[in-house]
C-alpha cells in the first residue's frame, strides 16, 4: 500500500502537535517522579501519530472517546496544555477541575468525551453517542479508541455487536501497542490479526502501521467517511508501540532492550521530521517549533503549579445533576 504524499504545511502542523504531546508527557513523567502528580500516569509516548492523525480525519462536531491513556488525543484535539497539566496536578484549573486526573480528561466543548479507565467499559458508551447521532439524524461520527487488551473483554463484544446490528456511525480504533499491561499479544489472543474480528460483526475491518501520520490519517478518514455517509461502523487495528511501560509504575521488564530500540527506529516524530526535511523544510524551522513547544510546556507546568487546588464545593455539587428542564 503506497504512502500518501502529505502536504508540507499539514505535516508541519502534525509534527508540532506530536511534539506537544511528547514534551507534555516527558514533563509529566518528571513531575510524577517528583511526587507532584499522583495516582496512575499512562503515557502515550510512541503512539502520538495515531491521535494526531485521527483528529485531522475528524470534524469539529465528531465525538471522541479514549481510554485512560488519554493525554495524547486530548492535546491533539486542542485542549490547552495548561488545562491538561493542571488536571495532573489536581488543580481547579484542570480540564476536569481536579475530579478526574490523568485517566479522566474531558473537554466537552471540543467533543472530547473522556478518558475512561475500565478496560472495555467505554465502547458501549461511545456506541451510545453514535446511537444518538442516528436517532437525531445528525451529521456526526463517533471515534472510539482502545487498546488490544480491550478486545478480550465482554464490553468489546457487546458494543461491536450493537454497533453492527444498528449500523451506527462509529469508528472503533484498536491501538495495538502489543502489550496488555505486561502481557504480550500472543499470550492474550488466539489471533495475530485482530482486524479479522470485524467480520464477526458484519463491519469493515482495516489494519495498518501507526508510525506514519499521513498514512494513519488517510486510513482513518476512509472509515470516518464511511460512517458519515451511512456505511456503518469500521473496526481498525493500528499497529503501534509504547516506548514507556504500561504506567509509571511499570518498568516494562517483559520486553527486551533490543526490541525497544528497534521500535524506536520508527518513532513517529522522527519519521515525520525526516519526511519534512525531505520535503524541503529547513532544519532550523523544525528546531524553532521544538523550542516553541518546550516553552509552551514550561508555561503549562508553571500554570499548574501556581493554580488553586481542587475545590470541595465542586466535589459536592457534582454528585447529582441539578434538576429542572435540560
Amino acid at each position: 500500500m503506497g504512502t500518501p504524499l502529505p502536504d508540507k504545511d499539514d505535516l508541519l502542523g502534525q509534527y508540532r502537535s506530536m511534539m506537544v504531546i511528547r514534551r507534555f508527557e516527558e514533563e509529566a513523567a518528571r513531575h510524577y517522579a517528583k511526587g507532584n502528580i499522583g495516582g496512575f500516569l499512562h503515557l502515550y509516548i510512541g503512539q502520538e501519530a495515531i491521535a494526531v492523525a485521527a483528529v485531522d480525519a475528524l470534524q469539529e462536531q465528531d465525538y471522541i472517546f479514549q481510554t485512560y491513556r488519554d493525554h495524547g488525543i486530548a492535546l491533539a484535539r486542542g485542549m490547552p496544555p495548561k488545562a491538561a497539566m493542571a488536571e495532573l496536578f489536581g488543580k481547579d484549573t484542570g480540564c476536569s477541575r481536579g475530579m478526574g486526573g490523568s485517566m479522566h480528561f474531558f473537554d466537552v466543548a471540543r467533543n472530547f468525551l473522556g478518558g475512561w479507565a475500565i478496560v472495555g467499559g467505554h465502547l458501549a458508551v461511545a456506541a451510545g453517542t453514535a446511537f444518538k447521532s442516528a436517532y437525531n439524524n445528525e451529521d456526526r461520527v463517533t471515534i472510539c479508541f482502545f487498546g488490544e487488551g480491550s478486545t478480550n473483554i465482554g464490553g468489546f463484544h457487546e458494543a461491536m455487536s450493537l454497533a453492527g446490528i444498528w449500523k451506527l456511525p462509529i469508528v472503533f480504533v484498536c491501538e495495538n501497542n502489543q502489550y496488555a499491561m505486561g502481557t504480550p499479544l500472543e499470550r492474550t489472543s488466539p489471533l495475530k490479526d485482530l482486524s479479522i474480528k470485524a467480520k464477526g460483526y458484519a463491519m469493515v475491518g482495516d489494519r495498518f502501521e501507526g508510525h506514519d501520520v499521513a498514512l494513519v490519517q488517510e486510513r482513518i478518514a476512509e472509515a470516518v467517511d464511511r460512517a458519515r455517509t451511512g456505511g456503518g461502523p469500521t473496526f481498525i487495528e493500528v499497529l503501534t508501540y509504547r516506548f514507556r511501560g504500561h504506567s509509571m509504575s511499570d518498568p516494562a521488564k517483559y520486553r527486551s532492550r533490543t526490541e525497544l530500540e528497534q521500535k524506536k527506529q520508527l518513532d513517529p516524530i522522527h519519521v515525520a521530521r525526516d519526511r519534512l526535511l525531505e520535503l524541503g523544510v529547513e532544519e532550523s524551522k523544525l528546531d524553532d517549533v521544538d523550542l516553541e513547544v518546550d516553552q509552551e510546556i514550561d508555561e503549562a507546568v508553571k500554570f499548574a503549579e501556581a493554580s488553586e487546588p481542587a475545590r470541595q464545593d465542586v466535589m459536592l455539587s457534582t454528585v447529582y445533576a441539578e434538576e429542572g428542564e435540560s
Binding site: F106, G121, G128, K132, G155, Y320
Partner: protein, 328 residues
C-alpha cells in the same frame, strides 16, 4: 381517581413522557415486538415505532452502556432490564459510568437515564432470579433509587425519574405488576418528588417502615394487630436514595417503637441504614430495640415451602411488632 394495575400505571407514565418529550426512548429485551416480557411496554411499539421502542439482543452490558452514552449527549433513555437480576452483568455501566460521569467531568456532562425492571423474588424462580437488589444500588452516590409499592407511586415516581437529570434505579416487582390501586384520572398529571416518605397507615403504637412487596404483608399484618389492640403506623419511603427520614423519625417519637420490613437480605442496605438513622436521631424516644423482618440470609431456594420461609410473612411481622411493643 380510577383504578389501574401497577403495570398499567408504569405504562402510562412512559407513554405520557414519551409523548411529552421526543428525547425519551425505551430500550431493552423484548420491549417492542414481543410487547414486553411482563407486558409493561405493551402497545408502545405500535404507538411510537421502532425508532423509540428498541428491541435489543441479550446484551445488558452493551445496551446499558449505549443508554449511558445516549444520555450523556442529550437523549433520555429508559433502559428496561427484563429483571434486575440481569443488571449484574451491566453493573460496571451503572456503577463506573452512569454514576460517575457527572463528577468525573466536573459537571460538564450529566446522565439522565432510567434503568427499570422487576426486582425481588417472583415465585419459585430460585436463587439466580430472586435478588432484591436495593442494597447494591443504594450504596452508590450518584444514583437515585426508587422502589414504589403502589400503582399511584409507580406512575408518579416513574414520571419524575424520566424527567430527572441524574441516573435513576427504578425497582418494580414482578408480583406487584397485577396489583390494582387508585391513580389520578386521565389528564391529571401527578409527579411524585423523590425523597418524600408516605404515611400509609396512621397508628400510635408501633412504626413500621416498609416498601415493595413486603409493604402489602406489613399492611395486612397491621390490620390483624388491631384485634390485639395494637395500632401500627406504616410508612413507605418510596425512594430509598434519597431517603426521607423526617416522617419516620416523627412517627418513632410518637410510637417509641420501630420495625423495618423489607425483602432484601439483612446485611447492610437501606434496611440497616434506616435502623442506624433511627437509633441516632430518635435514641431518647425508643422504648425497645429497633427490629427488622427481612428476607432470610440465604440464597433463595426453589421449593415453595422454603421460599415462603425466606420471604417476610405476616406472622413474622406480627411477632416482631408484639416483641417491640412487649405485647403478649
Amino acid at each position: 381517581m380510577r383504578e389501574l394495575r401497577y403495570r398499567e400505571a408504569l405504562r402510562e407514565a412512559m407513554l405520557e413522557e414519551m409523548e411529552r418529550d421526543e428525547r425519551v426512548f425505551l430500550m431493552g429485551e423484548e420491549v417492542g415486538h414481543y410487547q414486553g416480557a411482563y407486558k409493561v411496554s405493551e402497545g408502545l411499539l405500535d404507538k411510537f415505532g421502532e425508532r423509540r421502542v428498541i428491541d435489543t439482543p441479550i446484551a445488558e452490558a452493551g445496551f446499558a452502556g449505549v443508554g449511558v452514552g445516549a444520555a450523556m449527549v442529550g437523549l433520555r433513555p429508559i433502559i428496561e432490564f427484563m429483571t434486575w437480576n440481569f443488571s449484574f452483568v451491566a453493573f460496571d455501566q451503572i456503577i463506573s459510568n452512569a454514576a460517575k460521569i457527572h463528577q468525573m467531568s466536573a459537571g460538564a456532562l450529566h446522565v439522565p437515564i432510567v434503568f427499570r425492571g422487576p426486582n425481588g423474588a417472583a415465585r419459585q424462580v430460585a436463587s439466580q432470579h430472586s435478588h432484591a437488589v436495593a442494597p447494591f444500588y443504594t450504596s452508590i452516590p450518584g444514583l437515585y433509587v426508587c422502589q414504589p409499592s403502589t400503582p399511584r407511586d409507580a406512575k408518579g415516581l416513574l414520571k419524575t425519574a424520566i424527567r430527572s437529570n441524574s441516573p435513576v434505579i427504578f425497582l418494580e416487582g414482578e408480583t406487584l405488576y397485577g396489583v390494582k390501586g387508585e391513580v389520578p384520572d386521565e389528564g391529571v398529571e401527578e409527579l411524585i418528588p423523590f425523597g418524600v416518605s408516605r404515611v400509609a397507615r396512621v397508628g400510635a403504637d408501633c412504626t413500621i417502615v416498609t416498601w415493595g412487596r413486603p409493604y402489602y404483608v406489613a399492611m395486612a399484618a397491621a390490620e390483624k394487630l388491631v384485634a390485639d389492640g395494637i395500632e401500627c403506623e406504616v410508612i413507605d419511603p418510596r425512594t430509598l436514595r434519597p431517603l426521607d427520614m423526617g416522617p419516620i423519625i416523627e412517627s418513632v417519637r410518637k410510637t417509641n417503637r420501630c420495625l423495618v420490613v423489607h425483602e432484601h437480605w439483612p446485611y447492610g442496605g437501606p434496611g440497616a441504614e434506616i435502623v442506624d438513622r433511627v437509633q441516632r436521631e430518635a435514641f431518647d424516644y425508643l422504648d425497645a430495640p429497633v427490629e427488622r423482618v427481612t428476607g432470610l440470609d440465604v440464597p433463595m431456594p426453589y421449593a415453595l415451602n422454603l421460599e415462603n420461609e425466606v420471604l417476610p410473612t405476616e406472622e413474622r411481622v406480627i411477632g416482631a411488632v408484639k416483641r417491640v411493643t412487649y405485647a403478649k
